[in-house]
């Protein structure tokens, strides 16, 4: 049953060293505040799962939290490379990162299988691609009815899934809308689910079939307004495309990245303080006419 708690309590209670963690949200509703808290608590040896690692996993990888990454597209959307991800893969910094690499269709299907509690999912995919040669969780099987060769992908079943949503009610029922990604599948596939929300309200005012996770499948609810920034929360704030563009320069250099991480994440107590410090950085950058976030 959903328990309301601080983000610090939720991460310390559910995310342990060596855990398999999925933080989902396809461009929209990415749980950045939760990512910062994992870094702050200095979790290590995590297996991170995300279709699009995005800046959130660039930060976690650069901070040394991850041992292994399961993903399907690892760029900075609309900008270019994730430099911390690349540095880990190309140079083993700050530690080597094992990759388990899918296509979107493959990883989305692996989440579906996880939610269904099936060992694998079937899809018409990967034919002719080199990806199956480097990912043992992609195999080919024969259809028992048509004899057609089809791809099979091993289910993903995270220890913990973390997502961000627009609203929860006081019981812990969760409402999200807009681009939904694989959040529902990731939540249903996991042993525990942490949900950060923009706000907690008396009445969700939702249509009967609106995208909702009922309270009884959610482990922890944390009210973290703005917690998806620099991604966005439809109806609350827009994607901070300037931050994504500015991230390129910050993440390109190890020292610049570490200084950013120290000042904004490691030296702040929680997301509220992080936001205040980030606001100061952005105000200075704005006054200087530079693009730093």
């Amino acid at each position: 049953m959903a328990e309301r708690m601080s983000l610090r309590e939720a991460i310390s209670g559910y995310v342990t060293d060596g855990a398999t963690v999925a933080m989902e949200g396809f461009t929209h509703l990415i749980p950045f505040a939760a990512g910062y808290e994992v870094i702050r608590q200095r979790r290590r040896d995590l297996t991170l799962i995300r279709m699009t690692p995005d800046v959130i996993y660039d930060q976690l990888i650069g901070a040394g939290c991850a041992r292994r990454l399961i993903f399907s597209w690892g760029g900075n959307p609309g900008v270019g490379s994730l430099h911390r991800l690349r540095d880990a893969v190309e140079h083993g910094w700050p530690q080597p990162l094992e990759l388990l690499e899918h296509s979107h269709a493959g990883l989305a299907s692996a989440y579906v299988a996880g939610a269904e509690h099936l060992p694998f999912a079937v899809l018409r995919g990967y034919a002719g691609s080199d990806l199956p040669r480097y990912n043992d969780d992609i195999r080919f099987i024969r259809c028992p009815f048509t004899d057609e060769e089809l791809a099979a992908v091993r289910a993903v079943q995270p220890d913990v899934t973390i997502i961000h949503a627009q609203k929860a009610d006081r019981k812990g029922n969760v409402l999200l809308w807009g681009i939904l990604g694989v959040q529902k599948e990731a939540a249903l596939a996991a042993r525990h689910t942490i949900v950060t929300v923009e706000e907690i309200v008396d009445d969700l005012g939702a249509w009967p079939n609106a995208a909702l996770l009922p309270a009884w499948i959610v482990s922890a609810i944390c009210e973290v307004p703005g917690g998806a920034h620099p991604s966005y929360a439809q109806g609350y704030y827009e994607r901070d495309n300037r931050f994504y563009q500015a991230w390129d320069a910050i993440a390109r250099d190890r020292q610049t990245f570490q200084a950013w991480l120290q000042r904004h994440v490691l030296d702040t107590a929680d997301y509220a303080e992080f936001s205040r410090v980030l606001g100061e950085t952005q105000a200075v950058a704005g006054a200087e006419g530079t693009a730093a976030p």
Partner: protein, 262 residues
């Protein structure tokens, strides 16, 4: 970015985008990659194909963005879509289900049979450059009824042999693709800043079928890493119309202003 050719008032990039946009027909359903494909698809929608259905892998179906999205899932796509579906659904029901007319892809490397690499330059385990990876492309390349590929032409991008096949074109050519049992026909055109290439049956090797104005054959040969061939007839691509250019530039200006550029 390419610089404007002094003899004409449009750039090679603009010629590429406009040529690609023209291939999209009104009413088609088009699965769009971010970047150049998204730019071309939106240009088509704002010019000759107002009922082009744009589908983005983040879930929006029938998106009609007023400004170009920076990412594949900007709020602008969600707000202007006919509907938004979850990611497993977009791939499993809509793409695999056979509802996509055109898949529109980019790539870092391409070979003469239209196979695409977006994964690594160099060996997989010790990459020289780690690229973003597959995204939606392998299954778009397999299941869309037909595929258009759009990228700038250079000997680094148009290579004799890919370091990694991320998404399949015609593999080794001939009937190699047909034997994979894919439901889509495969890549039918590569649109570059120099020319248009199409697969020549029965080998399915891509040959130049249209050359952009002012581009010489020597330049195309130099910008291709394999001994490229020209179709028996390879006419000059029709130059951009004033309306195409104006619409494209307005679209880019709106995007640049929205994302904090220039």
């Amino acid at each position: 970015m390419t610089t404007p050719d002094s003899s004409q008032d449009y750039t090679a990039s603009e010629m590429m985008t406009i040529t690609a946009a023209r291939l999209l027909k009104n009413g088609m359903s088009c699965f769009v990659g971010i970047g150049l494909p998204s730019l071309a698809a939106n240009l088509a929608r704002l010019t000759h194909a107002p009922d082009l259905v744009l589908i983005y892998e983040s879930g929006p179906i029938g998106a009609k963005p007023r400004v170009l999205p920076l990412s594949i899932g900007d709020g602008e796509l969600a707000e202007t879509a006919d509907t938004i579906v979850a990611t497993p659904e977009i791939f499993r029901y809509w793409l695999q289900g056979g509802h996509i007319d055109v898949g529109f892809l980019g790539a870092a490397q391409i070979d003469r049979f239209g196979n695409l690499n977006t994964t690594v330059i160099g060996p997989y385990d010790q990459p020289k450059v780690r690229l973003p990876g597959a995204g939606g492309a392998p299954e778009i390349a397999g299941s869309a009824r037909q595929v258009f590929v759009m990228l700038r032409q250079s000997a680094r991008a148009f290579v004799p042999k890919l370091d990694f096949i991320t998404s399949v074109g015609y593999l080794d050519g001939g009937d190699a693709r047909a034997r994979l049992g894919l439901t889509g026909a495969g890549p039918v055109a590569i649109i570059t800043d120099l020319c248009v290439l199409e697969p020549e049956p029965p080998s399915h090797e891509f040959v130049v079928t249209s050359i952009h104005p002012g581009v010489t054959r020597e330049r195309i040969v130099a910008a291709t890493g394999w001994p490229i061939r020209f179709a028996a007839t390879a006419p000059t691509t029709e130059p951009p119309s004033e309306a195409e250019l104006r619409t494209l530039r307005e679209l880019q200006q709106r995007g640049g202003a929205a994302h904090g550029e220039g």
